[in-house]
């Protein structure tokens, strides 16, 4: 056994310790507000990470990923309105709903290629958007409130720190799963498809099936993120499924680094914290975001994350 930790081992440990200590320090320093901000960052990090599975690992440019995020959120809100408030019941249903919609939408969309795929995923998300707009029983255009956070035995999720820690654990768990998946047989096949799909077919892989499973798993993870965001905001409206929301998730991923395990986390943190700071300053912060994004796309196609993560091997 080695006695010294290398920096590459030390860095994740430091980040985990900092993340665990953050809510307590923030509360102690009177900045309890920032616990909620960081919770939101982590939930978006999870959503962006699920998109990373589709785009960065699966090579599919999905422009409708917010749909599964929104479906998960609505599942929890609707169940709560119908009296189901237990997280044990509602959250798995939200995950299943995200997966089910991804399975159906993916099954049709993955028959198409290139531009068609981008636009058909976009259109399906918009279809769900209008579905929830016209769903008057559950708030229609105005959305629907979640009366109280989901209930768990032993844990009181109304406590910001508890909720923060739970979200942190779920995010860490999903990142670990993604890492395993990327290194597994399945992940290897995804990488092969991303690089050269015709050859994968010629090696005997039913590529459609693998891409569909990838799309569905990502939908499930996005559904979980949705279940968390409605608990965080206490509210969900169709705007959570709007196509600009899908665009926002894409931006996060690009800023963070597509195909890098922590790309979604880095991007969500960069973008939401930038928003937090800039929107205090100016009402035109999206102009700034647009310019940054334009610059990144034109100058550094690998994403901001790739500037920091040159040493990390991808895949």
């Amino acid at each position: 056994m080695r006695m010294r930790l290398s920096t590459s081992q030390l860095r994740p440990a430091l980040i985990v310790i900092a993340a665990l200590a953050f809510p307590f320090l923030a509360e102690a320093a009177g900045g309890g507000y920032y616990v909620g901000v960081m919770t939101r960052v982590m939930i978006y990090a999870l959503a962006a990470t699920s998109l990373n599975l589709v785009l960065g690992y699966g090579g599919m440019i999905s422009f409708g990923h917010a749909a599964f995020f929104g479906v998960g959120a609505y599942a929890v809100a609707i169940l709560a309105q119908e009296g189901v408030t237990s997280a044990w019941a509602a959250w798995p249903i939200a995950v299943a709903a995200g997966a089910a919609f991804a399975l159906v939408i993916g099954a049709i969309s993955l028959r198409t290629r290139g531009l068609y795929f981008i636009m058909i995923t976009l259109a399906f998300a918009q279809m769900l958007y209008y579905f929830f707009v016209s769903l008057r029983a559950y708030g229609g255009e105005d959305g629907i409130n979640l009366a109280a956070r989901s209930r768990l035995p032993w844990l009181d999720l109304r406590d910001e720190t508890t909720f923060y820690l739970l979200v942190l654990a779920l995010l860490a768990g999903c990142l670990y799963l993604l890492r395993r998946l990327a290194a597994s047989r399945f992940g290897t096949v995804l990488r092969g498809i991303r690089e050269n799909e015709a050859r994968m077919t010629a090696l005997g892989y039913p590529t459609y099936r693998y891409r569909l499973v990838c799309f569905t798993v990502a939908g499930a993870a996005a559904g979980l993120a949705g279940a968390l965001i409605v608990n965080q905001h206490g509210f969900v409206s169709p705007s959570l499924l709007d196509w600009t929301q899908s665009g926002t998730l894409l931006i996060m991923l690009i800023l963070g680094g597509v195909g890098w395990l922590y790309g979604g986390v880095a991007g969500a943190a960069a973008m939401l914290l930038l928003e937090e700071v800039l929107s205090h300053w100016t009402g035109y912060w999206k102009l700034g975001l647009g310019l940054v994004l334009l610059f990144v796309v034109l100058r550094a196609p690998g994403g901001v994350g790739s500037w920091f993560a040159r040493g990390n091997t991808r895949g």
Binding site: I61, Y116, Q126, M127, F131, L293
Partner: protein, 303 residues
């Protein structure tokens, strides 16, 4: 009577979608480029139109000015920025043009403020006319239909009969061939882009008096224009026309009649809840169905 009137509304909406989708499908097909900012050009066109109409006091004076100005903005955008994206992957194009939407929205808000603008229909077209005997129809809507048909015919003629059209067709079906023919591709692309932008402004001018001229107005209609392009087949003007009319009809007729239709065989309360939902989704269901059977749209321009 009602059916006919709704049919005309569907036709009118479909033709306006065609104005947007035509530019979009050409950019898609000829340059192989996703341009999300197309909706922003529509918004800018409508804002310019509203401002110029107020400044000149005349809808008819403002129209060509707004179209020319929007075309100029589009061409400047193309030669200054978008040209650099043609050789990039679709993801870069999506993101860069998405960035343009964010920038355009905030710039418009800076210049014109957050309030919606008013654009009045020209006074001469304020009344109604009887296209169908006994059913008065707003003259301005009838005018929109006329403009849409005229543009469709003109575009068709251009694609089939002119040198530019031949180049566009060559570009849409085979870019290498166009390059090999020694076509000045750069100038062609800029022109196509300018044409698309001018059509955006025209659509903005036509729809401005009917809908609000406001920030974000381009975004929902952009998606519908995408649906049109996808249904019709990327790069095909004919496909864009057929797709636009299909989408316009399905959307308008669906909203007007689906709830009534469902009452025929469902309990009223269910029909009332389901009707609007289905109507709102009808266009997307249509698209999914088309792509399920024909993954490259109805009239694929590329083999």
């Amino acid at each position: 009577m009602l059916l006919l009137e709704q049919g005309l509304n569907g036709l009118q909406f479909g033709l306006m979608l065609f104005l947007l989708a035509a530019g979009l499908t050409l950019v898609f097909g000829v340059m192989d480029m996703v341009n999300l900012a197309h909706g922003s050009l529509y918004m800018i066109g409508a804002y310019l139109m509203a401002t110029l109409a107020q400044a000149t006091g005349s809808f008819w004076m403002a129209l060509p000015l707004a179209m020319a100005a929007t075309a100029a903005i589009g061409m400047a955008l193309e030669s200054g920025l978008l040209r650099r994206l043609y050789e990039r992957d679709h993801l870069s194009q999506v993101l860069a043009t998405f960035a343009l939407i964010l920038i355009a929205n905030d710039l418009v808000r800076m210049i014109w403020g957050p309030q919606a603008l008013l654009l009045d229909a020209p006074r001469a077209l304020a009344g109604t006319i009887e296209i169908i005997p006994g059913a008065p129809y707003p003259a301005f809507r009838a005018f929109i239909i006329g403009v849409g048909v005229a543009v469709a015919v003109a575009l068709y003629w251009m694609i089939v009969h002119t040198r530019i059209g031949a180049l566009v067709r060559a570009g849409a079906s085979n870019r290498e061939m166009a390059l090999a023919l020694g076509v000045n591709v750069k100038r062609l692309f800029t022109l196509v882009f300018g044409l698309g932008a001018a059509l955006c402004a025209l659509a903005g001018a036509m729809l401005g008096p009917l809908l609000a001229v406001q920030i974000g107005m381009g975004e929902s209609i952009l998606i519908q224009a995408f649906v049109v392009v996808v249904i019709g087949g990327i790069g095909s003007i004919r496909g864009a026309l057929v797709g636009a009319l299909l989408v316009g009809m399905v959307d308008t007729i669906g909203r007007a009649f689906l709830p009534v239709l469902l009452r025929g065989f469902l309990p009223n309360n269910i029909a009332d809840a389901l009707g609007p939902t289905l109507a709102a989704m009808a266009v997307y269901i249509l698209m999914a169905a088309v792509l399920y059977w024909k993954p490259t749209g109805l009239f694929p321009a590329r083999g």
